[in-house]
Symmetry: C2
Subunit: 240 residues, 2 copies
DNA sequence: AATGTTATGTACGGTAACGCACATAAGTAA
DNA sequence: TTACTTATGTGCGTTACCGTACATAACATT
């Protein structure tokens, strides 16, 4: 069964839930495995669970009619996926895909809604998280308009890295290209430049970050803006 | 004083507020004039009012360090500005600027919060609206990545037009460029093409839409996606 | 009418990213 | 080993958009 002692430390939102709310939710928390590529929600489908990743990363993508796509936001241990449940729209137009395999927990939508409506601490927490996601989405919009692939590649690496243990990342250039909504060759080029500067080492789907401070310098402002806003809105949620 | 009979019909969210909530809010509704260019909230500043435009349009912009900017979403009679109040973060990193002058109403943040916490109908309404704004932001992100200036110009015209009476729009190319986050010359070119096709007529800050169906055809899918999602989430809020 | 200001038009070299085609290399399976 | 698949490298012409500079035209001011 679930180890209740460790449970609360595995997701940032869990850690921020007050004691009495926690006691009510605890019986309804289910373990849920997230293999790479799993689609958690297709565009327009109603959500029946709120997902809380631990070491997994979920990408929120938007797919255009012509088949091209772009990542809107990324969710890891610091948050949850399925905000449309408590925003009331039930579904979203975004597709959620597991970008990095791992474990997560989930809670039935009905259970969350019950608590959301009756407990303002949980509601406040989830809404503050929602604003953090909005910030990330906003920043993505501006980033897509104004920053180079190089910069966005670095930003993306950092956001992913923050949600993982260690300094390695399993991800092909093809997939990164899909996230950024650019050509695979564009990512190849960007990765080359960054590697030439000794910042990363790229080998067939494995990226090792060798010099994180430099990576942050090469990234656009968007990374820090988003990170700082998460820190502000969810102060005790992040550092694990 | 405020004409209470007409009041409820001037903003889509007002119209969707239930009778008893409405009676409680009514004494706190203030008139507020929105002249062109007025800045309602600077990046990082705390919001003390929730604004409900009637015939005014508010642009949510994001300003980058280097001075360039991009519009994230647009708010008119169908919604409100200041969602960060009830999301709990108080401030946002976006700047809100009056894009088209007009009248609006506003309610003190404290009054809204009181109702938001005690009345689930108002809460549900505002949260559904929040999801609609998220959709718009998401679509902006993808649009910035994948669509041409021509398409975005058309989309932008349509979104503005939907929030105004008539088929005319007072707006210089310079300002549109700022919204879209592109060069002014880029907008000049786009406007030329669209005008050459007889879809609009552009004269020194005045745009008349002559053929709206064609304008919709020239726009990217983003316009309809956003519009349909607003219709879904706020069914009785739109058509005035 | 003369002048200034604001909005728009036009031109041109530069560049980031695209689409496409194909080469290479690193793993995988037989 | 051999063959196959998958991931990455590379080249090249094309395009959309940029930055800059400057011209024109409409309106405003006196």
């Amino acid at each position: 069964m679930i180890d209740e002692v460790k449970l609360k430390d595995q997701n940032g939102l869990f850690r921020s839930i007050s004691e009495d709310t926690w006691r009510k939710l605890l019986p309804h928390i289910e373990e849920f495995d997230m293999p790479l590529g799993l689609v958690l929600s297709d565009s327009g489908c109603s959500q029946s669970y709120l997902y809380f990743p631990t070491n997994a990363i979920v990408s929120l993508l938007y797919n255009l009619e012509n088949g091209s796509s772009a990542e809107i936001a990324v969710v890891g241990y610091e948050g949850c996926f399925g905000v449309s449940i408590f925003l009331g729209g039930q579904s979203t137009l975004t597709t959620a895909v597991v970008q990095s395999a791992g474990k997560s927990y989930r809670i039935k939508a009905s259970v969350i809604m019950e608590e959301f409506n009756n407990s303002s601490p949980l509601r406040n927490l989830l809404l503050r998280y929602t604003q953090a996601v909005i910030t990330q989405t906003t920043q993505t919009a501006v980033c897509n308009r104004h920053h180079t692939i190089d910069q966005q590649f670095c930003r993306w690496l950092l956001l992913s890295l923050d949600r993982l243990d260690g300094n390695e990342l399993v991800m092909t250039q093809e997939l990164i290209a899909n996230m950024l909504g650019v050509r695979r060759e564009g990512v190849t080029e960007a990765a080359h430049k960054i590697q030439a500067e000794g910042i990363i080492k790229y080998t067939r789907g494995h990226i090792s970050v060798l010099n994180r401070p430099m990576l942050e310098k090469r990234a656009c402002e968007c990374y820090h803006v988003v990170k700082d806003e998460y820190d502000r809105l969810l102060p005790h949620t992040l550092a694990i």
